[in-house]
């Protein structure tokens, strides 16, 4: 399958994307959403929680499987996509847009990949 990988985003080896900004926004890639199947439940941290780059911050559950969500950054959660929590199908339908998951005030970033590097990882 060929999933869309916007060139302006950062990626992680664990299939999250990160959009720079203050705060930064992240979610899961179309590759991950396609592999999971229909997402039916999101468990996300609360506003004010601290997250650590490379650490588990939540769960993404589909009918078929469940995956852990890793934070690509260290910082403080400033916004949670409650619309996606209420209707997780947006994670499949628009993973880089309406399907974003968390906005974080970033203190430090973890190991990030470019779109090309991420695509190469998935091809390998």
């Amino acid at each position: 399958m060929t999933a869309e990988l916007p060139a302006d985003l950062h990626y992680t080896a664990e299939h999250e994307w990160l959009r720079d900004g203050e705060p930064a926004t992240f979610g899961i890639t179309a590759v991950a959403a396609d592999a999971l199947g229909d997402v039916v439940y999101l468990e996300l941290p609360a506003v004010g929680d601290t997250v650590t780059a490379g650490a588990v911050v939540g769960e993404i559950e589909s009918t078929k499987s469940v995956s852990e969500l890793y934070s690509p950054v260290t910082g403080t959660v400033v916004e949670v996509n409650t619309a996606a929590v209420d209707d997780p199908s947006v994670v499949n339908g628009d993973p880089y847009g309406a399907g974003w998951l968390l906005r974080v005030d970033v203190e430090a970033t973890g190991d990030l990949l470019t779109a090309e590097q991420y695509a190469a990882q998935n091809a390998g």
Binding site: M1, E16, Y41, E59, E61, T63, S65, N92
Partner: protein, 430 residues
């Protein structure tokens, strides 16, 4: 997150419908040595379509083994736990192949396709085990006093998996889909006994229907659950069975692999306006789980007897031969002992009271408190698309198996409350 992509191997076998799946954009995954569709578009959409209209499934990975000859019924009675000799022609039966210790080697559906002809359908993962066991047990039966009476050529076991395609149409509109499908016809002699002389490779006899199409009150429309009927598609033989693995009304269609693509396309073309969609293994699994149906490797395995799985009814300790003598079968002694004693664990349904779903392998505890002891293990679990809450099947100790018992499942380190509920979780409206 991390993905577990299941990497296809070069030697994964391809279904006769492989090109259709590719053309439909299916996500193909390795499954029991085959490359099969996991989903075409959406697990949920395919699941819901099957509950509300109809789903079209390629099950060509399933094993089909023909057991034929004058001793076929008696040999199957010696090989399997059920009473197959007593099955009527065109009847179907859910049964099991057990080891000497009573452990389940596979669960099977057996169709009696003729007076001296049976079709045994095995799980893909167990196909080799079933073929070897049936071959060995049939030979042992033929060499026994019982078999010797009819001669050693009395039974033949033949693998037909490669030559056979299996397509299922499941859902409340399944019959409507078949009736709308051009080229499907009931044979002129439908309903009559299939003679050995008239039987083909699949045990489907009879001539192509003259008028074409299926009558509203015809033999296929009135076919009973767990029965089968030879029909034709474009003049070619198809064995139509009213069986399935979804909890819905539906049909399973066995036919020559070479005819499969034409039938698949005809079903889709006729069924699409009725809501039929192709459905993959993901939907098949969530549908069978809601219907409380066991899946080998999850609820059933070699360490489990049919009694623990709540399926003791399939073990026919009372089956007799033509002279009324009890029939010995492989596993009989162990199963007879089990039948008279309470099992150490019981298969139950669990309704999740939270949002996080219990999954296979998760420990079941007597309660949410950290010191509540472990009482079992989840065998299958998922968020139920139809019911809107998590469901799971689990083996638990008998004292906590009563409906309504409050338990907890350790879901990745955190205990989620669940309640024991009767199986199945979902029953189709009638």
């Amino acid at each position: 997150m991390s993905l577990d992509p299941g990497v296809p191997a070069p030697d994964d076998r391809r279904s006769p419908l492989h090109e259709e799946h590719v053309a439909l954009g299916a996500a193909l995954v390795p499954f029991a040595g085959w490359l099969m569709p996991l989903r075409y578009t959406s697990d949920l959409a395919e699941h819901t379509a099957t509950r509300t209209a109809a789903g079209l499934f390629d099950l060509s990975h399933m094993g089909e083994i023909a057991v034929t000859g004058p001793g076929a019924g008696a040999a199957l009675d010696a090989a399997l736990v059920g009473n197959l000799g007593g099955l009527r022609v065109h009847g179907a039966r859910y049964t099991m192949l057990c080891a000497e210790d009573g452990g389940v080697l596979d669960d099977l559906v057996v169709y009696r396709t003729g007076a001296q002809e049976y079709l045994v359908v095995a799980n893909a993962a167990n196909h080799a085990v079933v073929l070897a066991a049936l071959t060995e047990r049939a030979a042992a039966w033929a060499a026994s006093a019982a078999g010797g009476a009819t001669g050693t050529a009395a039974v033949t076991v033949t693998d037909r998996t490669d030559a056979t395609a299996l397509v299922a149409v499941q859902g409340p509109r399944a019959l409507d889909v078949l009736r709308a499908t051009a080229g499907l016809a009931e044979p002129a002699d439908a309903g009559g006994a299939v003679t050995a002389a008239g039987a083909t490779a699949l045990g489907t006899g009879g001539e192509a229907g003259t008028a074409g199409g299926l009558a509203a009150d015809g033999p296929l429309a009135t076919l009973r659950y767990y029965a089968c009927l030879p029909v034709t598609f474009a003049g070619r033989p198809v064995l139509a069975a009213r069986t399935g693995y979804t909890g819905e009304d539906g049909f399973e269609l066995f036919l020559d692999a070479a005819d499969a693509r034409a039938l698949w396309r005809a079903l889709l073309a006729a069924g699409a306006p009725l809501g039929l969609v192709p459905a993959g293994l993901a939907a098949r699994d969530s549908l069978r789980l809601e219907a409380g149906m066991p899946l080998y490797g999850h609820e059933l395995d070699t360490t489990t007897t049919p009694f623990e799985a709540g399926l003791g009814r399939v073990v026919r300790l009372d089956k007799t031969d033509g002279e009324g003598r009890p029939v010995p079968f492989v596993g009989r002694a162990a199963l007879a002992a089990r039948a008279g004693s309470a099992p150490a664990r019981v298969l139950v349904g669990l309704q999740g009271l939270g949002r996080r779903a219990a999954r296979e392998g998760h420990p079941v505890h007597a309660g949410e408190a950290p010191d509540a002891p472990r009482v079992g293990t989840v065998t299958s679990g998922a968020p139920s698309p139809t019911l809107g809450h998590p469901v799971a099947m689990a083996y638990v100790t008998p004292e906590v198996s009563g409906a309504g018992t409050a338990l907890a499942v350790d879901v990745r380190g955190r205990r989620e409350p669940v309640r024991v509920v009767p199986l199945p979780f979902y029953r189709r409206p009638r």
